[in-house]
Symmetry: D2
């Protein structure tokens, strides 16, 4: 099994993939290779071509960008299915080649996204240092690790804990992000179109396009979900591209397509929307089961079907006038 | 075939039954007998016992009362099905034994309900006459027809055109109701539980009881109808009887249970409501076909089902962890 | 102060009035006279004419009828306001002139509505007795009380506890109704148009007519209530009378018109509906305060108003092109 | 008056600004200076500091990027107001220093976004040429215009018609975009907080944040708009940044805050949402007036207010018990 990920090595996506593989029973995928890609699009091409078997990509609120890239790639093909999700707590360390007092630092390098998240800490703790841009936090760490020893004096990098460890750097400070709690969500996608079985704590991801001649269609779509007791854990608008004011929406629904309420909601969305692109049903990484009101339970749907089938069996075939 | 109706003879219900039988192809029910009943409840008992085969009863806005009586009888048994509807324009005549100038009338008799509908006309045109109550408009006409000739001088009755004709009275004035346009709707019910086939211009009648622990349940029920494109042509609340604030609702939906949108709405109502009592699907007497938005057409429902079935076929059976 | 009620004396409406007067501080209405009426309509005429000052009438689920009568009278005039409500637990006693073993009873008289509610008990406990109809439960009790002593042997009446007490009868059995829990709700109406101040536990009664050219208008009306957090404790449909399928709805809303959420809902209903007939805001008899979500509290409405007023103050008067 | 725009010169934003100034009456802003900025954020800083008076920026579906940049800048400050919008049809030309047959072209330079939109045309018409990246379409044109004449042989640029004209290039082909109809929308913002007067054909832009403890809050927000007859012409989700699954939504509403229906909707959103950030009401560039249902017209709101005020005047002040 070859797993692609949005690289370079030691990105948070890399870490998400490591987490996912750890969670798998070892015997299920005895040989595992991890392949970094520079973009989700090129990785997806290799996935479709069979060069890799699965791909980990950020989908939501990533500090390394890539969210809309991932959404667009997922929306563009029918042959890719999300089979798992992972979340990674985003945290940064300040790392150098050797233990160095903070006041001796003269240059701190990092990716601008990461800098934005630690700038308060840097201003407070390393006020005199110059902040230099790198192409990624991994690159900042690697460059420092590979630099000529004569040139590393007073230099540090803002990077992930994984990067510091991977490149053998010394951590000067950890948890230096200004705001706690940033999390990035990642999805593991495969090409094969097999949907993981229901676990009871699942998510379903779809992309829908609304009919453009009907104001209020988004309201109708949300009512379809509400009237089947299906919660929305993510909604993201994406322009369709042909006219102003036309959007597709990427949605994460709580539940699996084998849940009757999700099935009913998806069928109704399919009637309303010119496009419903199903991207997968997969176990929630937090294992949290949806709380389902009694009338949205599988039983309620099944009993309603049985009741209706009995009614329908009484309909007279043929000419209605003689049926009276 | 024996047909019961809410009598006595010459009521508007009688007329509705005559209209319904006229509309039937003669050979379909060669022998037809019409049996008046003094109440819908007693007629329903005879219907269930097999003494009559069908029953015509007013259901909506009747001038002769009986609507809630009919609704309650329909709600109380599972073995009765509505198979047709009729509407009758409510109009009254002033009739006497012989042609009489209006100014010579001294007494006008009728049923209080009818009187209420012609009182303006009477005040205007027969201001001097005493208005006497009869037990029904039919009784007013019959009493006059059967009275001793010595006692009919100056007497007239307010009754239906059918009653005047049936009892051989002379019509002094017709269309004497103060407000045009009163219509009563009647339903023809049978015991057998056979549902007339879909004609494309149908109605479906149900009685639902809402969950009493959920404020907003009526809103949810109406949203179920709206989100399936099902119009409501009648809604009537009836107390359930056990607590204040608990109602059942008698609903006429536009469409037939073989319309996918009606089927979907009924199944959803069945999940929401502790009681959904199906009373029948039958051709509309006005033959008006429902205008159905594209996403509520049968095709849209069928295509959504096919699409979903293809998705569901991809779900891996068994252990979800190995399915990744 | 003269109080009318739907009589005769000892009806449940009479009892509701007694309860209401007991709840009043005695000094507030030093002289109190209670006047029975044979119908709500005639009492309302006297109320409007100034012959009485207030009127107690059943509005919901009454065993003595009168609900739709009351609703129609309330809907027909602008000059009547509901100022209070009462509920009465409906319960019946079997009463005779003297203590009599049940097996010696030969005739039990009552009003048909009451009989319907005790028929199971009678069949069980007085199987041999003939059941005779009276014009009201009060009349049944009074007739028995006033009958010649020679004729009361083996006779009993089904009546209210109040009637038995009032007419000096002996109670043979109490609580003989087949189903517990029947309650009738009554309203006290005045002609003056003064609305009781908000107590925090109030109800508001309105009658609305829906626009007849818009399917889904009832759904819109209920959404107006829901989107202002206003619960519905009673909804009753009444035909408007001009066409089939046109209804007015009599609604009890939880809250007072001085509650911002109720004010907002009423204003929106006024836009939607061709007719909104306000019938009064008054304290709930059960004293139960509405649970109000934070965004439906008065503060939330007031803050939204203040915020918007500040915005609106920034709008440039005059020619918009120069405003840029 | 100094107007900033997202530069460099000849961008589509520049063209939007030229269009906007053309539409203004000349005397209203006698001295006009146009200042290019490299980012919306830096321009906004200058706007707030008073260095420029207004700023044109792309907001929707731009080919030059910048949309989310603009949305985030607008959301981040209270002191900026949108006062106008412009749309520009996105179209590209192929331009060279001199008239050149297409088959002689060896290098075509442009910005990657623009290339993506013309790649089909280039493959078809200039299959042999190398495609080179420039930092913007304007830079591609300027570089070609300023290049040494000895080095321009076989070179062309993909750029806007405005850029070709501005830099004195020769247009070899126009309308070379693969898909017609791409339009970018721009907004003109000022710092002063004056809102243009209502024209009858207006838009209102707001950013809302939903309560995160309530699933279905987006549905409630959309119902608020629908129940006030306010159409949504744009909705765009933006992560709030603190937790996964929390979004703010940037909305364009049809109408002006002086339209009663918009006022009512905004007030209700203010109750529901922890944050409602008002960004401005301004004339629609297409001049299209909203079609407003009768019950959403100003009159309907005003009449409802008057009706309610008359009701409220009848409420008794003080102790409710004596008010009965």
């Amino acid at each position: 099994m070859r797993y692609g990920f949005l690289g370079p090595e030691t990105t948070f996506t890399h870490q998400a993939l490591l987490q996912a593989l750890e969670a798998l029973p070892e015997e299920s995928t005895p040989v595992r290779e991890m392949v970094p890609f520079s973009s989700v699009a090129t990785a997806a091409t290799d996935l479709l071509a069979g060069d890799i078997d699965a791909l980990m990509a950020p989908i939501e609120n990533s500090v390394e960008g890539g969210v809309s890239g991932t959404l667009d790639v997922l929306a563009a093909t029918d042959s890719i299915t999300i089979v798992a999700e992972q979340t990674v707590q985003i945290t940064f360390v300040l790392a150098a080649r050797e233990a160095t007092p903070l006041e001796e630092l003269t240059t701190v390098s990092s990716h601008p996204h990461a800098q934005a998240q630690v700038q308060g800490w840097l201003r407070q703790n390393v006020p005199g240092a110059h902040v230099a841009a790198a192409s990624s936090t991994a690159a900042a760490a690697r460059d420092l690790a590979e630099a000529d020893p004569a040139e590393v004096l007073g230099r540090a990098a803002v990077c992930s804990p994984l990067a510091a460890e991977h490149f053998g750097l010394t951590v000067l400070a950890e948890g230096i992000e200004d705001y706690d709690g940033a999390i990035t969500r990642f999805v593991l996608v495969t090409r094969e179109g097999r949907i993981p079985a229901r676990t009871g704590a699942d998510k379903t991801t779809v992309v829908i396009q609304l009919p453009h001649n009907r104001s209020g269609a988004l309201l109708e779509a949300l009512e379809i979900l509400a009237s089947n007791g299906v919660n929305l854990s993510r909604i993201e608008s994406r322009p369709v591209g042909d006219f102003l004011g036309r959007y597709s929406f990427s949605l994460d629904l709580e539940g699996h397509i084998e849940d009757r309420r999700v099935a009913a909601a998806l069928r109704s969305l399919h009637r309303l929307c010119p496009v419903v692109h199903y991207l997968g049903s997969y176990p929630r990484v937090d294992g949290q089961r949806a709380e389902v009101r009694e009338d949205f339970a599988d039983d309620a749907y099944d009993e309603a079907h049985d009741w209706f089938d009995r009614l329908e069996a009484m309909v007279t075939p043929g000419d209605p006038t003689t049926a009276r």
